[in-house]
């Protein structure tokens, strides 16, 4: 019995990190109605940034968070200008295709550079024991950092002028423009933030599991599942959706092989998409 509870708790810890990744995806969708298909590449970029910052630059694993956050933000702004800016206001088909093609280029370059071998970032942290079950310290710290990042995003969006401007652009781009908000700059800022969140999530995932260049697709799909659970365009819902997904994974883990949880996730994804297109945790956005 404790085994199942422990498995669920651990699932929730990991799920919150999926929620952090999905927050990046859903923020971009909410502000500019673009599904960012470079999301998976951003997650993988975070993983490899951690790998090289710790192995080559000799940084402590969690000290890499700040440079990855800033780097992800800058790369995200650049991606906005390359792939998204010309697509704003055009049919969704076009932005899906343009971000998809950038993703292909990035993953292709990564595969050419590092192949598809497994990478691993060794992180040693003491775990916490509870009734004979040990929760790894990395899982606990990843969940704690996720909570901190989510809190910072909330403070930014709701208690700074800049964040309010981003939300204004999300609500009504034309009205925001009329009120003197530089909307294009806000869009690129939001895209940068979304990519930064995805790469930090990737970095945290890399402290938990080994990864390859191609890992992005699987985590991108998880982000879709989470986003759809939480309602597209809703960062708070994304966090709840991530926790719900982790709960499902944790609940399923003791009873079936890992490969079947994928089937459950995707069936759930499609079922939710059909039955609740607005998301299960569709809280009010503003």
């Amino acid at each position: 019995m404790f085994g199942i509870v422990a498995s669920i708790v651990d699932g929730v810890l990991i799920g919150s990190v999926y929620g952090l990744a999905a927050m990046g995806l859903t923020l971009i969708w909410g502000v500019m109605d673009v599904v960012n298909l470079t999301h998976g590449a951003a997650i993988v970029a975070g993983m490899f940034a951690l790998y090289f910052l710790t192995s080559a630059a000799g940084l402590a694993p969690y000290a890499a968070l700040a440079p990855i956050l800033v780097g992800g933000f800058l790369v995200g702004m650049l991606l906005y200008w390359i792939a998204v800016h010309r697509m704003i206001g055009r049919p969704p088909l076009m932005s899906l295709l343009s971000t998809f093609s950038v993703n292909l280029v990035l993953i292709g370059l990564g595969t050419a550079a590092w192949g598809t071998v497994l990478f691993n970032v060794p992180v040693t942290l003491p775990g916490v024991s509870w009734h004979g079950y040990t929760f790894p310290g990395t899982h606990l710290l990843a969940a704690a950092l996720t909570a901190a990042m989510a809190g910072l995003l909330y403070l930014f969006l709701y208690h700074t002028r800049l964040g309010k401007a981003v939300r204004a652009v999300a609500d009504n781009r034309e009205a925001a423009e009329l009120a003197g908000i530089p909307t294009t700059r806000m869009l690129s800022l939001a895209f940068g933030l979304g990519v930064a969140l995805a790469s930090v999530a990737g970095m945290l995932i890399a402290t938990l599991f080994p990864f390859t260049v191609l890992a992005g697709d699987a985590y991108q799909l998880k982000s879709f599942v989470v986003t759809v659970l939480g309602g597209l365009g809703n960062p708070a819902g994304a966090l709840l959706g991530g926790i719900a997904l982790g709960l499902i994974e944790g609940l399923a883990a003791p009873f079936m092989p890992v490969s079947w949880t994928l089937v459950i996730e995707f069936v759930l994804f499609i079922a939710v998409l059909i039955v609740f297109p607005g998301g299960i945790f569709a809280l009010r956005r503003s």
Partner: protein
């Protein structure tokens, strides 16, 4: 481009008197004859791949080009068709024709039911659902023991005996594949010049307006989705019968979905000539890149960069550019 069906003068002429009908026939004949004349096996293999690309791209175009809906998981039809066909042949000793047709019918039915399920979804939500369906089916098949799980299904070599041995069987498969390709082209053409096609293009231009004018948009979308599943499923059945082996990684390879999208955009979405020419060009380009030492590692990068350039600067693709320069060609080509 989407208005072309309305503008071109010959839409109401009988099929046999339209020039484009004969252009398609000539393409099919060229595919059939070119390798057969001097028994050129190498050419046959390269054209077989081109025929697969044309089939996938033309059917993807029914969704992407006509209705403006992205189907990221179009490869699921190809893979499922392959699985059903190989399974019926290996486990139940069905003949090739029966297995392939049953695969096509089953996959179309599956697509119709699924399409009716996701008919309320629009735009990006639909695109996400199509990614989900590909992964769900792939994850399911990887765990489904009757279909061999992740290690897949094999066909014994005796399977080619009823077709007169492996050598002759490869030719028969090639001609059947060219037939499937031809049917895809006529299907695209038939739909484009029909009332159904008009409804699809109306959805592509403005879904709300189309619904207001009486197009039953959810049903039309589901039907288009289902129709676009049939011929890729046949192609999948033939393709994996030819290899006598199928496994989830090959059957549900999102890379092939990607290539089909690149081809449609390269040639020109919504046209029939575009995906055909695009498929041929892409196949040639790919052949050259794969043989080059430097470029074979960068195939994804090149596909991606090509797609990005088209989407950013040439959204009409090759045909859009050609129509822009020689508008009169619109009367002949579709």
């Amino acid at each position: 481009m989407r208005q072309d069906a309305l503008k071109s003068g010959d839409v109401r002429a009988p099929m046999l008197r339209r020039p484009f009908f004969w252009i398609i026939a000539a393409v099919i004949a060229a595919f059939g004859l070119a390798p057969a004349v001097d028994n050129d096996v190498e050419l046959r293999e390269s054209l077989l791949l081109a025929a697969v690309y044309i089939t996938l791209a033309s059917n993807l175009n029914l969704m992407l080009g006509y209705t403006g809906y992205i189907n990221f998981g179009s490869i699921v039809f190809f893979g499922l068709g392959g699985y059903i066909c190989v399974f019926l042949m290996s486990a139940h000793d069905w003949p090739l024709a029966g297995a392939v047709l049953a695969a096509g019918a089953a996959v179309s039915l599956f697509a119709l039911l699924f399409g009716l399920g996701i008919l309320r979804l629009r735009g990006a939500y639909f695109a996400l659902a199509t990614i989900g369906i590909n992964e769900a089916v792939k994850a399911f098949v990887s765990n489904f023991e009757p279909w061999g799980g992740s290690s897949g299904l094999y066909l014994p070599t005796e399977i080619f005996m009823p077709l007169g041995g492996p050598m002759q069987a490869l030719w028969i498969i090639y001609f059947l594949m060219v037939g499937v390709m031809g049917l895809s082209l006529y299907l695209s053409y038939g739909i484009k010049t029909s009332k159904f096609g008009l409804g699809l293009m109306a959805i592509g231009q403005n879904e709300d307006a189309a619904a207001m004018l009486g197009v039953r948009t959810p049903l039309y979308k589901a039907l288009a989705y289902s129709v676009s599943a049939f011929l890729p499923a046949l192609a999948g059945g033939l393709y994996f019968f030819k290899g006598a082996f199928i496994q989830p990684v090959d059957a549900f390879d999102l890379g092939l979905s990607t290539e089909a999208m690149v081809i449609v955009m390269l040639g020109g979405q919504g046209t029939i000539t575009g995906p055909t020419v695009g498929a041929y060009l892409y196949e040639e380009l790919r052949g050259r890149l794969l043989t080059s030492e430097t470029f074979s590692n960068f195939q994804l990068v090149i596909s991606g960069a090509l797609l990005l350039v088209i989407v950013l600067f040439l959204p009409g693709g090759l045909m859009g550019w050609i129509y822009g320069r020689w508008p009169r060609l619109k009367r002949v080509l579709e």
